[in-house]
């Protein structure tokens, strides 16, 4: 989960990283009650980077200009995202701008400190200046000093910048962050340091134990910045007709890839989750399957629904049973025209997408129970296309989608 700039800076303040005096602006008229002195910077609070280049930051000298600037920033989308809040901040004159970050490197499986004396907007132009230090063992301040030395700092700046890096690392380690970044760290002519902009990303898997962020999760823009949320279909191609219901990340991605390769257009997909989740069980998987079918069926653009499940938790017939149950429930709606109020008539009309089903359950091919035959017969009667192989599933799905596209 990403934090907005002002949230990141509030976090900086808790550990003593200096930030400029600032105020949150929720609507343009809040400008009138500013207590920080002009000139100020007004900054769009969006999750996307590079807002400076897109007009998301304005410097103003007085209230009239500030209100006008606030209005225009509130109405300026940054890569499609409108800010819900602005940050008004005292404008700082700095001599130098550094870049500092702590990230977790997946390959070496250790935190890494990053730093450059060429920070600010042009950090990418000076990639060769970026220095890094791997935190091999438990962190100790000498790792931060090593970074400052690599950055080429000397004298008092060594301890001053190290101390900021130490505080960043402390946040990183105690708050389960994926990233903490200060860019730029401003250095004034008298050697004072100040975090002018900051970026913080909290690890999604650790969010539940980082109770301090509980309030912020509600603030954020839903799953856009909290990709952990499962159980909601994700949109792929708004012009597509195919829905995909699958289980497991690798299998889901493979299914999408095969549909695309065959010329199909997946509009939406839902991953029921892997079989390594703590608490997962046969009955939970059945529940999720039933819910997933409902969720994808409710997406109007889904004309063809591919249900593709490979699992060691359930036998084929139990999965088929859940699908049959879904069709039965859907077929019974609406029960009678008299039960439907006029305004719900349209949404409650029976609509089941064409279903293509491939189920590979526990002991597949080994146990052909009588139940399985019965369920499959029911599915066949309900026009569900039941296929054996993945390639067939893809071919049938794309063929059915072509019918709709015509």
């Amino acid at each position: 989960m990403d934090l907005l700039e002002y949230q990141a800076k509030e976090l900086f303040q808790t550990v003593g990283i200096p930030i400029p005096p600032s105020q949150r602006i929720e609507r343009p008229k809040d400008i009138k009650s500013l207590t920080i002195p002009y000139p100020i910077a007004l900054k769009s609070q969006v999750y996307i980077g590079g807002r400076g280049r897109m007009g998301g930051i304005r410097f103003v000298e007085n209230t009239i200009d500030a209100i006008a600037a606030a209005q225009s920033i509130f109405n300026l989308p940054i890569m499609g995202e409108y800010p819900k809040v602005l940050l008004a901040e005292a404008k700082y004159e700095v001599e130098q701008e550094f870049y500092l970050a702590v990230i977790l490197n997946r390959s070496i499986r250790r935190p890494v400190l990053l730093g450059s004396v060429k920070g600010g907007m042009n950090v990418q132009q000076h990639v060769d200046q970026m220095q890094h230090v791997v935190v091999e063992q438990d962190f100790s301040p000498y790792y931060a000093r090593r970074l400052t030395i690599k950055m080429g700092l000397s004298g008092d700046l060594i301890e001053a910048v190290s101390s900021i890096v130490e505080k960043m690392y402390h946040l990183f380690a105690t708050k389960d962050l994926d990233l903490v970044e200060i860019n730029p760290l401003g250095i004034s002519s008298d050697g004072k340091l100040i975090a002018l902009d900051g970026k913080v990303s909290v690890n999604d898997d650790a969010l539940p134990r980082q109770t301090a962020f509980a309030g912020l999760i509600g603030d954020s823009d839903g799953d856009e910045h909290n990709p952990q949320q499962t159980g909601c279909p994700i949109t792929l191609d708004p012009d597509g007709q195919i829905g995909i219901l699958c289980n497991g990340a690798g299998l889901t991605m493979t299914t999408i890839d095969l549909i695309c390769a065959a010329g199909g257009k997946p509009v939406s997909f839902l991953n029921l989750g892997s079989e390594t989740q703590a608490g997962v069980s046969a009955s939970l998987l059945k529940e999720r399957l039933a819910q997933g079918l409902e969720q994808l069926a409710q997406i109007k653009k889904v004309r063809v629904l591919l249900v593709h499940l490979v699992t060691g938790l359930l036998p084929d017939d139990e999965m088929a049973e859940v699908i049959a149950g879904f069709i039965r429930r859907r077929s019974r709606e609406p029960r009678g025209i008299s039960e439907i109020r006029p305004d719900t008539l349209i949404t409650h009309t029976v609509r089941i997408p064409q279903m293509v089903v491939r189920l590979v359950g526990r002991s597949h091919n080994l146990e052909n129970t009588g139940n399985e035959k019965a369920v499959n017969a029911y599915l066949a009667a309900a026009q569900v296309i039941v296929v054996e192989s993945l390639d067939d599933a893809v071919a049938q799905t794309v063929a059915q989608a072509r019918k709709w596209a015509k």
Binding site: Y99, I103, L104, R106, S107, R109, R110, P111, V123, Q124, V127, M130, A173, D176, D178, L179, E181, N203, D204, D205, A206, R209, P227, I234, L236, N247, G248, A249, G250, L251, T252, M253, T254, D257, C260, A261, N271, G273, S274, E275, T276, Q277, A278, G279, V280, S281, A282, V310, T311, G312, L313, V360, R362, S363, H364, N365, L366, S389, L390, D391
Partner: protein
């Protein structure tokens, strides 16, 4: 092979939902499951498996343990693994998904210091068909044979195993190294193990987007692996920056957009192709490519 039916195995979290399902299945498959641990459930008995409150107690009662399979909840994984390592267990398989990355950093530092093999987290574990199950692989999909499977995912691996089995290509081992972002054992480590394993004649490597494991594997294969390797990469059409399931299967918006474009399917497929490793277009191509590689081996011999 470091894993065999002689391994004496512990299940930590035997009273958790998944542990309770899979402990009897592991045992029925031939795994020498000597004990389970679940704090608060000590002195009980689960399908004939004695259950203890502590790993130390289990070892005191049943003797030395080689391998532990961990099913506890994500925030309890670090502690369970450290407890096992402190008790002298040197093979730790973590099934549980969603262990916080910094917990894994601490665990892997301790594993390195104690020469402990950590597989996972978010791993279906290890199966040696017909002999041993250390995790949650559906056993009926696998048949004994010469193909070693190494993967980062679960259900896709089951699918590939089934397709190989259906094509008459049995498996020497199925290993899932785990779908979380920070994991223990790596592709190169397992490539080396299978290179040395006399029962493995060909290797199937199933990768996915995110990280640089496949790129590292490609380099390692080019330099150190003589056995034929066939690869498959999932996620060509995955939406950028979105998590599809695995914490590891995400193409990071690069810090500062610096550095080369790693993590994408294209980057991985290119790296593999540069290392002259055949990359299957779809899972059903894998058996064909493996058969071809094996035929070539026979010809060479």
């Amino acid at each position: 092979m470091i894993f065999s039916p002689h391994n004496r195995v512990l299940v930590q979290g035997i009273c958790e939902p998944l542990g309770a399902v899979y402990a009897p299945i592991m045992q029925a498959y031939g795994t020498d499951l000597v004990a389970g641990v679940s704090a608060g459930h000590g002195s009980s008995d689960f399908y004939g498996i004695p259950v203890f409150d502590l790993v130390d107690q289990a070892i005191d009662q049943v003797g030395a343990i080689d391998t532990t399979v961990i099913f506890v909840s994500p925030y309890a994984v670090l502690d369970a693994a450290l407890e096992a390592i402190a008790a002298g267990i040197h093979q730790v398989i973590i099934v549980t998904e969603g262990v916080p990355p910094l917990d894994m950093v601490r665990l892997l530092r301790q594993a390195e210091a104690t020469e402990t093999l950590v597989v996972g987290p978010n791993s279906a574990g290890i199966i040696i068909p017909g002999q041993l199950l250390l995790g949650v692989h559906p056993t009926s999909f696998y048949t004994p044979g010469p193909v070693g499977i190494i993967s980062r995912n679960g259900t896709l691996t089951y699918e590939v195993a089934m397709q190989l089995s259906q094509a008459g290509l049995g498996q020497s081992i199925g290993v899932c190294i785990g779908g979380d972002a920070i994991i223990g054992s790596s592709f190169p480590q397992w490539l080396q193990i299978l290179e040395e394993d006399e029962h493995t004649e060909a290797i199937v490597l199933i990768g996915e987007i995110g990280g640089d494991s496949e790129e590292a594997a490609a380099h390692y294969i080019a330099e150190a692996i003589d056995k034929p390797v066939v690869a498959y990469i999932a996620g060509k059409n995955a939406p950028k920056g979105r998590r599809i399931g695995h914490a590891g299967a995400i193409i990071d918006a690069q810090i500062l957009e610096l550095g080369p474009d790693t993590g994408t399917a294209a980057s991985k497929i290119n790296a593999l192709r540069r290392a002259r490793i055949p990359v299957a277009e779809r899972p059903s191509q894998i058996p064909t490519l493996v058969e071809k590689a094996l035929r070539k081996l026979v010809k060479q011999a």
